[in-house]
């Protein structure tokens, strides 16, 4: 048969490699800064653009889409051409893919640091960028499928099945999760609300892991590992089985992010079941990768590329066992919201994605530049530094997770929380956060060694942008029955049909879980008392979203005694029906906020408290790592946009009265004035136009609607006071002092009980509720809802309250 001459496009591969390297440095560096901010909050610098809530999504987007995304394109563009013996379908599409993707990344960086975000994890980018992503992704798919159609190689190798599944999976996920109603160029609201938004978001979020971080890398593994080892893949049969099983099962696993949360049990059960089943096809991939090295393990000893690939596949196996274990409800009950999730993600991200990328680059760059790697020794050094860095990163975080979950759920013999103050659990794990910085630094150092090594390799090599090749034209075989092929063999040479079957396999899971949640009303029982956000509360919510508060704070009290004792009533699905988007959060670096609006509840704080806390959290609680938000007192709320926001909410089904958009601004200003006057009464002067007012209004809304009216009735009831006699024992007074400090009384009453803008002084003779031991004991135990004094009766035993009373009256007040 006549040989056809053509050229491989190496230039596009080189461009994507450069982008991978550059964005990798940026992404890891941003992550390092975020890690430093958690241990040393002064690194937030008190400016909005560098606060943790904005840096964290920048890190995740930079790593996932910039670093990993470009490495996928680099690996795919090289291997696809070689496997199909064809140049990419269109050089123009290749260029649009490359430059379009880099534009997405730059826009992401600018918008995320500016606080322009949807707050949906790994889908934070606002709607104009979502459209750009869709366009670039279609261009990529068009280029890839076009190349498959014009190929010269009859059979489509296994790696390419994974690339096809990646393209289709990501397209479906991105489109469905990005349904949002724009209000302005920089702001939109998710079409979904509450639990529905949560299901769609975590169907997307988990499958971003599946179809962006797993399937393309399995494809890369199927090509680059055999090439680097000089050994064919262990089992082609296994590749067929685990491919179809994986792409089918993965799409069901999303609800494992929502266990014991406000989601119907049937959805949670599906998430658990399919997550556990996923171990099998995932380990199929791991087994296929590791056993490929049979007879070639001696090569691993000297090759950094192979070392990285081995660690990558091993980390993949570890993470895909750990993940299903974390999906078991009893494990998830304790691991969720802790640093275990962070450790898990980074083993997978640094080990599997990072490791395979490094291995691929160490093999590909010398190949592309027709030279040897500049320094194999340096590459091996990178390997050991990176592996050590990964372990130093993850192991302390596992330790931190266990510490935190044990402390959260520990009870005293009397039946009270041993650590009622959330901050006590955080201070214990801060040393582990320092280790995280060390681990991340090592990983960055290793990466920089690689950059140096690859740049030197490129400089010494001979790069050919258009690499000449020749191959016979495609042999268009007859139909399946004539050639006696198996069904799969036939399907493997029909790219469009293959893509359609892949789409069917991966679409089922999402449809089965999302359609009932979205369209069957009985899945979301409503609560009559829950009302839509007022315009001011909505504005405050938008500020909460913009600042990324969800990166540290959850709004989801789970039905465990150790959560309800700490935060209040557990969260019901009907509370969130107006939440566009949902804000359940996935991590508790700070406490849960779902009940901050319940007057008289454990989490309620006055407007003055919130003002002072936002301005300088460390002044209120010395050990706090929360960033300061001084710009809340400077920046104005956007009154002009409010009518459009109300109309958007009405379109999404929120029952504001007809024509309310015309009254919204007036209502907003009236409510803002009330809060501003409350603050003024506490000695705080602030204009009612500032963002601070909106944030306070929003926090005072959370949980308020479902808190029982008994709170206000109880405040009126005569509570029988207990007769208390003070203790003069130095030990008991010292114990009372320790409780006074550890429980956070100092935040409102001053370090020495001298009082401040929030709480009264204990040093003078003025006692609003009476100054007898019984009076003081009663206020501590039952609180004073109207004044924002938290009731500590369900956190401290009577003996401890007596100790605190004695400390206040016998020491501070010197009676």
């Amino acid at each position: 048969m006549e040989l056809q001459k053509f050229n491989y496009d190496n230039k596009i591969v080189k461009q994507f490699i450069w982008a991978t390297i550059i964005w990798g440095v940026v992404g890891i560096l941003v992550g390092l800064i975020a890690a430093i901010q958690l241990a040393f909050p002064s690194w937030n610098f008190g400016i909005e653009f560098t606060s943790f809530g904005r840096m964290r999504p920048l890190h995740t987007n930079a790593i996932v889409f910039a670093f990993v995304g470009n490495s996928i394109f680099a690996g795919v563009y090289y291997s696809l051409q070689k496997l199909l013996k064809a140049r990419m379908y269109s050089d123009v599409l290749s260029k649009i893919n490359f430059w379009g993707w880099q534009l997405v990344i730059v826009l992401a960086a600018v918008t995320l640091l500016s606080g322009i975000t949807t707050s949906k994890e790994y889908a934070e980018l606002e709607w104009p960028i979502d459209i750009l992503i869709a366009i670039v992704w279609i261009v990529y798919g068009w280029n890839m499928i076009g190349t498959m159609i014009k190929r010269r190689e009859k059979h489509i190798y296994a790696a390419i099945w994974w690339y096809v599944a990646t393209f289709i999976g990501v397209a479906v996920l991105h489109v469905v999760n990005s349904f949002e109603l724009p209000v302005s160029l920089f702001k939109s609201y998710s079409v979904y609300a509450g639990a529905q938004d949560a299901v769609v978001q975590w169907w997307y979020g988990h499958n971003a892991v599946a179809f962006f971080l797993t399937t393309p890398f399995l494809g890369l593994m199927y090509y680059y590992l055999p090439k680097a080892a000089g050994r064919p893949i262990y089992s082609y049969r296994l590749s067929i089985i685990h491919f179809w099983a994986l792409i089918f099962l993965y799409m069901w696993a999303g609800p494992h992010h929502l266990l014991y949360q406000a989601l119907p049990d049937w959805a949670q059960a599906l998430g658990v079941t399919f997550s556990v089943m996923l171990i099998a096809p995932s380990w199929g991939g791991m087994i296929n990768g590791l056993l490929t090295l049979r007879g070639a393990w001696d090569k691993v000893r000297d090759s950094a590329a192979l070392k990285f690939m081995v660690v990558a596949v091993t980390a993949y196996g570890m993470a895909t066992f750990e993940g299903p274990m974390m999906s078991l409800k009893n494990v998830n009950a304790i691991s969720h919201f802790t640093d275990w999730t962070i450790a898990h993600v980074h083993i997978a991200g640094m080990g599997w994605n990072g490791g395979l990328t490094f291995g691929m680059l160490y093999w590909l760059v010398p190949k592309l530049f027709r030279t040897k790697l500049f320094s194999e020794k340096l590459a091996n050094t990178h390997f050991w530094v990176a592996t050590l860095g990964m372990l130093i990163y993850a192991i302390p975080l596992y330790w931190a997770a266990i510490t935190q979950w044990l402390m959260w759920r520990e009870y005293t013999p009397e039946g009270f929380l041993t650590y009622p103050n959330f901050l006590e659990t955080l201070t214990q794990i801060l040393p582990m956060y320092v280790f995280r910085i060390v681990g991340g630094t090592l990983f960055l150092i290793g990466f920089l060694l690689m950059v140096f090594n690859l740049v030197k390799t490129m400089a010494a090599g001979n790069f050919i942008a258009n690499d000449p090749a020749e191959a016979p034209a495609l042999d268009k075989s007859a139909s399946r029955s004539a050639t006696g092929e198996t069904i799969h063999r036939w399907l493997e040479r029909k790219p469009v049909r293959f893509a359609i079957w892949a789409f069917i396999a991966l679409a089922i899971g999402g449809a089965a879980e999302i359609i009932p949640i979205v369209f069957i009303k009985s899945n979301i029982p409503t609560i009559e008392a829950v009302t839509p956000y007022t315009p001011l509360e909505l504005e405050g919510r938008d500020t909460y979203v913009s600042e990324g508060c969800y990166t540290c704070h959850s709004q989801m009290v789970r039905p465990f005694r150790w959560e309800t004792d700490r935060y209040g009533e557990y969260s019901k699905i009907g509370e969130f029906v107006y939440d566009h988007p949902f804000q359940w959060g996935s991590r508790r670096i700070g406490p849960d906020l779902a009940r901050t609006g319940v007057v008289g509840g454990q989490m309620y704080k006055t407007a003055a408290w919130h003002y002072n806390h936002f301005m300088d959290p460390q002044k209120m609680n010395e050990q706090s790592i929360m960033p300061p938000y001084p710009w809340f007192a400077e920046k104005d709320m956007d009154f002009d946009l409010m009518p459009a926001k109300i109309r958007a909410m009405q379109t999404l089904g929120v029952p504001y009265p007809d024509g309310y958009d015309q009254e919204a601004v007036a209502d907003m200003k009236a409510q803002a004035k009330e809060i501003s006057e409350q603050l003024k009464a506490s000695g705080i002067e602030i204009s009612p136009d500032k963002q601070m007012i909106g944030m306070i209004a929003y926090l005072h809304k959370l949980g308020r609607d479902i808190s029982s009216n008994a709170n206000s009735n109880e405040a009126k009831k005569e509570v029988e006071k207990v007769e208390i006699s003070l203790t003069n024992s130095p030990d008991e007074i010292a114990a009372g002092k320790e409780i006074f400090t550890a429980t956070g009384c100092t935040a409102c009453h001053g370090i020495n009980g001298e009082g401040n803008a929030i709480g009264p002084s204990f040093q003078d003779a003025e006692w609003t509720n009476g100054g007898t031991p019984s009076d003081v004991f009663d206020v501590i135990k039952n609180g004073r809802a109207a004044k924002g004094m938290t009731p500590y009766g369900n956190q401290l035993s009577e003996e401890k309250i007596k100790q605190v009373t004695s400390f206040i009256l016998n020491e501070i007040n010197k009676k």
């Binding site: 070689k82 190689e153 069957i520």
Partner: protein
């Protein structure tokens, strides 16, 4: 999607759909497994696995 809402109005008993779906998956899995492992010629698979290598790339230590 009124059709969907109307058909699936009552959520009770919905688990049957998922059980059926799982059963379909298991049946298909077993079928594909048997066809792949017992009915596909080994030589053909070996040639596909090795097709990604250039002439001198394949490690001769098999």
């Amino acid at each position: 999607m009124k059709l969907v809402s109307n058909v699936l109005q009552d959520i009770s008993g919905i688990q049957i759909y998922y059980i059926v779906g799982l059963l379909i998956f298991v049946v298909l899995f077993v079928y594909i497994f048997i066809r792949t492992y017992f009915l596909t010629p080994r030589a053909e698979l070996t040639s596909i696995k090795e097709s990604i290598f250039e002439d001198d790339e394949l490690n001769s230590n098999e």
